[in-house]
């Protein structure tokens, strides 16, 4: 199925500047990202580790957690496997982006502060972890450069949608 089926885009030009009162009104629609903005102010400097490293690690951790949940309850296999795959794909994409910026080749993120998955992970623990992953990715959206923001916002949206699927 061709995804961009309905619209081919002509773009009219328009005059440019004014106050952004209404942009703020548009943003008032956005509770998730509204929280993200305050969390992100001041954290946009280029010093410090690449913020996508933590997201990649979280994606690996989620995949591992989901795998453990499936092992604990094989009946959950069909329900949880797509989320595990998605998080594995997220990790790979994020690692590629980290490597691109660092000028190296992608390597799987390794857990620095290894928080071992709970002994008997359940759908509830998967849900909580995905929710956190969605929030953490969303919190970066305000400040990331154009080349990375689409990927990270997509990761946030995908995780958020899985929390709906698994609720």
């Amino acid at each position: 199925m061709s995804p961009r089926g309905l619209v081919s885009l002509p773009v009219p030009a328009g005059p440019v500047r004014l106050t952004r009162r209404r942009l703020i009104a548009l943003a008032a629609l956005a509770p998730v990202a509204g929280a993200a903005l305050s969390a992100c102010d001041g954290a946009s400097g280029s010093s410090g580790p690449d913020p996508l490293i933590a997201l990649a690690r979280a994606a690996r951790d989620d995949a591992e957690l989901i795998g453990a949940a499936i092992t604990a309850s094989p009946a959950l296999t069909d329900r949880l496997t797509p989320a595990r795959q998605a998080r594995t794909d997220h990790a790979a994409a994020l690692e590629t982006e980290v490597a691109r910026l660092a000028g190296g080749t992608p390597a799987p993120a390794t857990p620095a502060t290894s928080t071992a998955p709970p002994a008997n992970p359940t759908t509830a623990s998967v849900l909580a972890s995905l929710k956190k992953s969605a929030n953490d990715a969303g919190a970066l959206v305000a400040t990331l450069p154009a080349a990375r923001v689409g990927l990270v916002a997509g990761v946030a949206a995908c995780c958020a949608a899985y929390t709906v699927v698994l609720s």
Partner: protein, 155 residues
């Protein structure tokens, strides 16, 4: 010192262009939903109406935003051409998937074309809610994975 200068911000042309583009896809989505409702069984028609309302809200906010920054919002076309003709329930569900996928791509593009924080926040919210709608229609249409792994990414 926080004078009026801090209250003002320019919205650059790239942001305006991105908003016009996403407005186009919102127009198209609304048209799509108006078309498909008639082909869907009651429960799905109900969902389609709800989703249509969500797009109407987004459209209104985009139009208002564009007007406020002095740009004239693009108008809807009289009709759009679905990639597959809608003749029954399944083809109607497919068009819902197309419409939601289109809008996801346009909202992602807004994120990539603006650095305005309120606008990015709004676009992220639209991407999140749109991904859920897309997921539900993909599920109905029997597509996997049900949740798009990279919402808004064009293949």
């Amino acid at each position: 010192m926080s004078g009026p200068a801090q209250q003002r911000a320019s919205v650059d042309q790239a942001s305006i262009d991105a908003l016009q583009d996403v407005l186009e896809t919102e127009h198209a989505a609304l048209w799509a939903y108006s078309l498909i409702v008639a082909y869907l069984p009651t429960d799905l028609a109900e969902r389609a109406r709800g989703d249509s309302d969500a797009h109407r809200t987004l459209r209104g906010l985009i139009e208002q935003t564009l007007s406020d920054v002095g740009a004239r919002p693009v108008s809807a076309l009289p009709s759009y051409k679905p990639p597959t003709p809608v003749t029954d329930g399944p083809t109607a569900e497919q068009l819902a998937v197309v419409a939601e996928t289109d809008t996801l791509a346009a909202w992602r593009s807004v994120l990539e074309r603006t650095t305005d924080k309120p606008l990015r926040a709004a676009a992220l919210d639209a991407l999140v809610s749109g991904t859920v709608r897309c997921m539900q229609w993909r599920s109905s249409a029997g597509l996997t994975p049900v949740v798009p792994t990279f919402p808004g990414r064009t293949p």
